[in-house]
Amino acid sequence: MSVELDVFVGNTTIMDEEVYQLWLDGYTVTDAVKVRMEGGVLDECEANADVVLSDTMDQYRTFHMCERLLHSPAKLANQLLYQITPHRQTILIERYYAFDDGFVREVLGKKLSKGTKKDLDDISAKTGVTLKSCRRQFDNFKRVFKVVEELKGPLVENIRHHFLLSDKLAKDYAAIVFFANNRFETGKRKLQYLTFQDFAFCAGQLINNWTVGAVAGPDSFVDNMVEDMDVDLDKEFLQELKELKILITDKDLLDQHKSLVCTALRGKTKTFNEMEANFKNLSRGLVNIAAKLTNTKDVRDFFIDLVEKFIEPCRSDRWTAADMKLYLTHYTNSVHILDTFKHQIVWDRYMGVIKSCIFKMYHD
């Protein structure tokens, strides 16, 4: 005796959020049943194992059938097949596009290609996220990437509009797309301490300040239509960054800059001596990063450079976060006083981002 067929279809599609999460997490039906039973679901409604199994299978089938629609969430709202309340729809989409920070950290900055997809089982083993879930998340990244790749206009807006995601999630996806597009290196050992949220924040900074869209601003209609405006860095700006080199190549400027900073810092921090001693090194590091950004290869190494050239030296000198803030603020502002330096705007645009990125990245 065996159950040959067992279906339950509601006029309003019934979806259990707990089961949905298990499905998203890639549990098999058997495992999901186990988890649910351990979770005490049997106490509800005098259920037994068969009932839970049947319910879980039904739900899995429903989710499986809805998955097609979730791939283009806009369709979910005007499809006729499943009657799902708008509130439920939002939950379904948001959860479907949610991802594990552990997993995303692994693929961040990697090319979203078949090659990467083949490595997913390694990532799965490493992160403890089931392979099924890894695949879903990877496919989500890829799908969002593909869609926004061909779209004009602001990145975050496009993602939010096309995938009906919350603001937060749309920004995270923008970061993922941005990293994948520019192929930033995030996998090196030295970068391991950084979380996805650190990178997402930095990506937000870069998108808002260093891309073509950032210059154009939301009001300029013509520039709004530029392709990839939020994905690619502003080439002109990168060229202009080379001009900053004068801050380290011109001896006078360098000394002037150093004395201005040191005057301002004196007595305000315990690590003043180290700051003074390292000033030239640190300044060279930051300016060199700026000057090299015209090379795609060096763009990829942007974060590793920041860590190696700036964060690590400071950390070894035991700067506190407050020290860092103080130093960078004065380091940035003092340049305004240098009369001979003509690239104040570029400097501010560069340092604004560097400052907030370093603040975010400066932790254990």
Partner: protein
């Protein structure tokens, strides 16, 4: 040239990719009606084409308009090869033919393909311009409204109920045509869908014609079924009840929410133009004297065949065997010994044409497919009547084929007429049998009537069942009240709360052995000890506690056989199955301490090697009926001590279960009559003042006491008090079968806390519905791998299957608690050898636990409020009983006591209540009479309508408001119209403002990639979802937002996993409606009609 159909194709969306190279589609649309086809332009390279076509105009007969669907085909244009079909949409334009229904069809329809399912959507606009047709001999019946709802639709009033209409159309099944071997499955499926669509259109038109002939304007309780008889053809048949409906003015529409309380027809009856003067029932009216003797003379074993049912059993046995004979020797005519009224031989029915007057037909079958009635319509209920017959299918010959239009589309139709027997004649026999059963029960009508079939290979079981009843003639036609009075038993109108329970048959000539008692409610007339019916619980019935879903399940193995042998074997098994199902029902009813079944539906499904029987009903405790005795276990060998012990434990378990169930369903019936004759006598009240008497021991009991009051009658002295303590139902454990029975009796689980279930429209005891509803369909198929199963083993499997299904529902819907599963409709089938299929459609509705009390009062209103004459009723007794369980039912609120008295028909009773100024006075009166014992009272001192519970309910309105406020949470916001679906005739918290027409759809889905679609479960899951989607889309396009009285008539699944194939057919129907949320004001006015009647009744207070 009476009609112009116009269609416009606007746009498409979400189309599938048809051109792999470009990942796009070059779509165009063909619009076809009858033999005319139009095409749109090709909209190249788009998945969201915007055709925005011109208006395609079809000039057609209205006859065609009724029969034909508008057929829209979406295709992908291909320059070099044949165009590929993407899918089709069939639009039934019938709703546009009624002026009162929809005026335009406009919206997105899923594009459906029988192989791929839904593939995108198409936006279509359809309009119809109808010209007046004055032709008297027209073949169309435009304008007749159809309703699936089995009660008078809300917002309407039945001026006249004309009676039974039926029709059937037969054709060859395209699937079994020779051409099917050379065409694609898609073409075959589409031919079938189209044919069935045509046939049901034709069927509806023909039924409409009959209704027009009878002078009616609507069909209520329309039930259409398909019989897929395989090689022998395809039958589409329908039954319904013809009515003359009048739309209620918007003012009075408010009253219709709770139940169709239509006014008495006598003054408002609009006599149908042509034949309104003809008696509806004509000579069929029973003189109540002698039902044909065979029924009474039938040997019913005295031990246990339970009363209300027994006539059908012996009869069905008798006639089913004779029917088998008949079907084996078709030309010999009627050899039926037992059934009466066979003078109408097959030839007559065979030749039945539309020329046969509707009158004749009505006389033939006083049947009503309605299950609930306007108040005062249903006078008495006799019991369930049912009939079955086993037939051997033969090639269908339809004599009418030559002159119907259906053959036009079947060019392959070349069936030769060689056999005069038709399905018409078969049903005629069954109906005759039902009619004679009803007569035997002293009834002139059958209500809650339905017909069904079960087919396996060439054997077909035809079943019909209904409830024998006596109806009020006022609704039938004008001025025939005198007919009723020819029978002395019906002289006095009975209170509607219990009247329907009073036996319609002559107690001296009882058609079956039954224990009669005087009605526990009015004490005037006799009632049986149990009552089985196929109808819904009348709204005004007095019920104690809550109801519950009761199911009897049975499997019987049968040897595989062919032809006659098989048919004989089946018809020999049938009576035993019916008997066992009945015994099971009876036991389960008693176990729940209830005494009546409503909505009883018994299905018997035939398979190659087994028969499945499933009887479902909703059990209730009718206050008017005596309390059921317990169940007593008796052993066969009393001497054996171990056995004795065993019996004792079982007995204890049963007693415990009964006690538990009483508590669960809040059944606290008044035991006073049985226990204490003195107390009983107290019910004869007299208007005398005396001090408070002692026999009322405590408040709780006092409240009970008040439930029984009655106008006195001399007959009271005859009351048989022993009935209250009558012997318990005895179950003998004499073999393993009996032990199994008892075990299965006890293993039936009650629903978990927070859940109730019933298979009727509403749940007795729950009235405070909130707006949460969830309609669902669930299908489960079990494969029996074990080949040598016993009957017991099978029973166990089948029972578990049903029980587990219920458990699954409770679990799935647990977030809706507290909620009630209503209209639980189980359908069983044996699709193949070793397979058992159970399909269930039901609706879960939430209710508010806290407001039980308030709503109880609300529910009462229809009873009191509807009647305009002046008879006192006891509407609140129900409350008194059910509130016993509530802690709040103390009697402290004495001074504001509310006497709900209402007025009803014809007898001039003085009002008692208004003379009793306070509740205390009443109490004293009662006490007094109790002490004095039975005293004869005058005619004038009448019933006292009073209830303790009304005290608590005296101000229900504020709560009512808060409820409706809460329920007004809106669902909306989505770009797709939300369409609610329910198998019930109403949606809680809303008011139906318009009926848009009937939805009747038939779909076939087939796959050749079963595994890829997720196996059979995945296949069926998506198909059912697709069917829902298409129903919703059609309703939305008609401008509606809900489907009521939704049902899935058929779900036939055939699978062949080895070939990776499956095919499924689904037929659904329902009424498309527009409903609006009751606005605050409305809900106050109608909460549900409470405002009005409460104020009118509180006048009586103090």
């Amino acid at each position: 040239m009476p009609g112009k159909l116009k269609a416009k194709i606007v746009a498409g969306r979400h189309l599938p990719v048809m051109d792999r190279a470009s990942d796009l589609t070059d779509a165009f649309v063909e619009v076809k009606f009858g033999n005319t086809t139009f095409k749109t332009d090709v909209y190249p390279k788009s998945l969201n084409p915007q055709w925005n076509s011109e208006w395609f105009k079809f000039e057609v007969d209205d006859e065609d308009l009724q029969d034909e669907p508008l057929q829209i085909t979406v295709l992908d244009h291909d320059t070099y090869s044949a165009n590929d079909a993407i899918g089709k949409v069939y639009i039934d334009i019938d709703p546009l033919l009624c002026t009162e229904a929809a005026s335009v069809i406009s919206g997105w329809f899923p594009i459906y393909d029988t192989i791929h399912g839904i593939r995108g959507e198409i936006n279509v606009l359809v309009k119809v311009e109808l010209f007046n047709d004055l032709n008297r001999f027209r073949q169309s019946s435009c304008g007749v409204k159809f309703f699936c709802t089995t009660s008078i639709p809300r917002g309407y009033r039945a001026a006249t109920v004309h009676g039974f209409v039926e029709e059937l159309v037969v054709n060859e099944d395209p699937e079994y045509q020779w051409i099917d071997r050379i065409r694609t499955p898609r073409a075959s499926n589409e031919a079938r869908q189209r044919l069935i669509s045509l046939m049901s259109g034709e069927l509806q038109r023909k039924i409409g014609l009959k209704v027009l002939e009878m002078g009616g304007n609507a069909v209520v309780g329309y039930l259409q079924c398909f019989d897929l008889e395989g090689e022998s053809g395809l039958v589409v048949r329908a039954i319904g009840t013809a009515c003359s409906l009048e739309k209620l003015s918007s003012g009075s529409i408010l009253n219709t929410h709770t139940h169709p309380n239509t006014a008495p027809a006598s003054n408002a009856c609009n006599s149908p133009s042509k034949d309104g003067k003809e008696p509806v029932f004509g000579e069929d009216l029973p003189s109540s004297s002698g039902p044909p003797t065979p029924f009474r003379a039938l040997p019913t074993s005295s031990s246990s065949p339970p009363p209300p049912f027994s006539p059908s059993k012996p009869c069905s046995r008798q006639s089913s065997s004779s029917d088998t004979d008949l079907s084996l020797t078709p030309k010999t005519g009627m050899g039926s010994g037992g059934s009466a009224g066979k003078e109408a031989g097959p030839l007559k029915t065979l030749l039945r044409q539309q020329t046969q007057t509707a009158l004749e037909q009505r006389q033939e079958f006083p049947f009503f497919t309605l299950t609930s009635f306007p108040s005062a319509f249903l006078l008495h209920v006799g019991g369930v009547v049912n009939a079955r017959s086993v037939k051997l299918l033969d090639r269908i010959h339809n004599p009418a084929l030559g002159n119907t239009r259906s053959y036009k589309l079947l060019d392959w139709n070349s069936v030769t007429a060689d056999e005069p027997e038709t399905r018409d004649a078969w049903w005629e026999e069954i109906r005759q049998e039902i009619k004679s059963h009803a007569k035997a029960l002293g009834c002139h009508a059958v209500v809650g009537y339905s017909e069904s079939t079960s087919i396996c290979e060439e054997v077909c079981i035809l079943s019909a069942s209904g409830t024998a009843a006596i109806l009020n003639h006022r609704y039938m036609r004008e001025g025939c009240l005198d007919i009723g009075s020819t029978d002395h038993r019906f002289e006095e109108p009975s209170p509607p709360t219990c009247g329907f329970c009073h036996i319609p048959y002559d107690e001296l000539n009882m058609p079956f052995p039954a224990q009669l008692t005087y009605c526990y409610h009015c004490r005037r007339q006799k009632v049986p000890d149990v009552l089985f019916t196929t109808i819904d619980l009348p709204a005004e019935a007095a019920v104690t506690g809550k109801g519950c879903h009761i199911q009897a399940r049975l499997c019987r193995l049968k040897k595989k056989a062919q032809g006659e042998v098989n048919a004989t074997a089946i018809s020999n098994l049938l009576p035993f199955m019916e008997y066992e199902l009945h015994t099971q029902l009876m036991n389960k009813l008693k176990l729940r301490s209830m005494n009546a079944l409503f909505g009883l539906r018994i299905q018997i499904s035939v398979g190659e090697n087994m028969l499945l029987g499933l009887a479902s009903a909703t059990g209730v405790y009718l206050t008017a009926l005596p309390a059921p005795g317990g169940i007593q276990i008796a052993g066969k060998t009393p001497g054996d001590p171990s056995n004795e012990q065993h019996i004792l434990t079982i007995q204890k378990r049963i007693n415990d279960a009964i006690a538990k169930n009483k508590e669960l369903y809040q059944i606290n019936p008044p035991k006073l009559f049985a226990l204490d004759p003195e107390v009983f006598c107290g019910t004869n009240m007299e208007l005398t003042e005396e001090g408070v008497g002692s026999p009322i021991p405590e408040p709780r009991q006092r409240s009970r006491l008040f439930r029984s009051h009655s106008e006195s009658s001399d007959e009271l002295s005859e009351l048989d008090l022993s009935h209250g303590k009558k012997d318990a139902f005895v179950l003998e454990i004499d073999d393993t079968d009996a032990v199994e029975d008892i075990h299965s009796l006890l293993t039936d689980a009650n629903p978990p806390i927070g859940f109730y279930s019933c298979n009727t429209e509403t749940m007795p005891g729950i009235y405070n519905w909130t707006s949460g509803i969830q309609m669902f369909t669930s299908v489960r198929i079990l494969r029996l791998s074990n080949t040598n199963l016993t009957n017991q083993g099978l029973n166990k499997i089948f029972t578990d299957l049903c029980e587990n299904l219920l458990k699954s529902f409770y679990f799935k819907l647990r977030s809706m608690v507290p909620c009630c599963l209503c209209h639980l409709n189980f359908t069983v089938a044996v699709p193949e050898e070793e397979l058992i299929q159970v399909a269930v459609t039901a609706v879960a509705m939430t209710f508010d636990k806290d407001q039980t009390q308030e709503k109880l009062a609300e529910k009462l209103i229809p009873k009191g409020g509807s009647d305009t004459d002046e008879q006192l009723q006891f509407p609140l007794e129900l409350c008194a009983d059910s509130s016993n369980s509530q802690p709040s039912s103390k009697i402290s609120g004495v001074p504001e006591s509310t006497n709900i008295s209402s007025r009803a028909a014809s007898v001039d009773y003085g009002s008692f209540a208004d003379r009793c100024s306070t509740w205390l006075e009443l109490l004293r009166l009662k006490a007094h009479t109790i002490r004095r014992g039975s005293v004869k009272t005058s005619r004038r001192t009448q019933s006292l309508a009073h209830s303790v519970s009304s005290l608590e309910h005296s101000s229900p309105l504020p709560e009512g408001r808060s409820r409706s406020l809460r329920s007004s949470r809106s669902f909306g916001g989505s770009s797709v119209t939300v369409v609610k679906m329910t198998p019930l005739s109403f949606l809680p918290g809303t008011r139906i403002i318009k009926y848009l027409g009937i939805i009747n759809m038939f779909f076939i889905r087939e796959t050749t990639s079963l595994r890829e679609e997720g196996g059979v479960s995945g296949f069926l899951h998506s198909f059912i979802a697709e069917v829902f989607a298409m129903v919703r889309a059609h309703v939305a396009a008609l401008g509606g937002n809900a489907v009521v009285s939704y049902s899935m008539q058929d779900c036939v699944l055939m699978e062949n996993p080895n070939k990776n194939q499956a095919q499924c057919l689904i037929n659904v129907s329902g009424d498309a409606v527009i409903c609006v949320r009751e606005s605050d004001q409305d809900s106050l006015a109608s909460t549900t009609t409470i405002g009005h009647s409460c104020s009118s009744t509180t006048d009586v207070t103090t």
